[in-house]
Subunit: 144 residues, 2 copies
């Protein structure tokens, strides 16, 4: 995550990750960052997510302009988004990053009842469930 | 970062941050996530950054398709991007997130010599320096 020579003096290696390794890394869920266009350009917000049958499932908060824009965009339409998950050790200059891209849509109330429950952000109890089926998965790891 | 009721049982509060607080939080630099459109939709990659005279300054790696796309898009043109920085404690369900948006462009070699040096990702020694002047700054904090 740093210069080619890390803090320990060893050379840092940038390794491209294959699809299986990417899926293994994102499988536990947690916090990810969703990128989407809000009409004025790219925007990014962190959300809690789970993996559900190969799809990324997250819930927007009800509050905040960006959440409203994202929710509105996905109501009844499929919109292309990117979802990024990483673990980065800023001290050791090591870590990995995975990006999943694909069409996302808002789940109906009926569908929500059948999927894994996602912890919402505060104020997210009434937020929308969003499901993104990745059609493109890429990732890389940096280590010494 | 979780349900409205945190692990300790206290209610979680979502607080919108003002511009000054956002700038204070991102001032130390470190790792952020840059979102941009690569022609197929939004994309996100983590980068090291510094704040330089109110602007976000980061360096792309030379390797990787996304870095190439980003670098090409910004060569000689100003492109709107989003830059997100956060610190999230997944255990305590607390944290903050700041997003800066604005036009970004690639710096010339002459300009690079005058700005603060940014630690690149591995393979980034020959990567491009990107500078984004934020025209929109927003953030929020979640605490108990």
């Amino acid at each position: 995550m740093n210069t080619a020579t890390g803090s320990g003096g060893e050379e840092a290696v940038l390794e491209e990750l294959d699809r299986e390794e990417c899926l293994r890394l994102v499988a536990p869920g947690g916090v990810g960052r969703v990128a989407f266009n809000d009409g004025e350009g790219p925007a990014v917000i962190p959300v809690n997510y789970v993996m559900d049958d190969g799809a990324v499932l997250f819930r927007t908060a009800i509050a905040g302009r960006l959440n409203t824009v994202l929710r509105t965009a996905l109501r009844g339409a499929q919109v292309r988004i990117a979802f990024e998950v990483d673990r980065i050790d800023e001290e050791r200059h090591e870590g990995w990053s995975v990006m999943l891209r694909g069409g996302a849509r808002q789940l109906s109330d009926e569908e929500c009842a059948t999927v894994a429950r996602v912890r919402p952000w505060p104020g997210g109890e009434r937020g929308a469930h969003i499901r993104m089926v990745p059609t493109e998965i890429s990732g890389r790891r940096i280590h010494h």
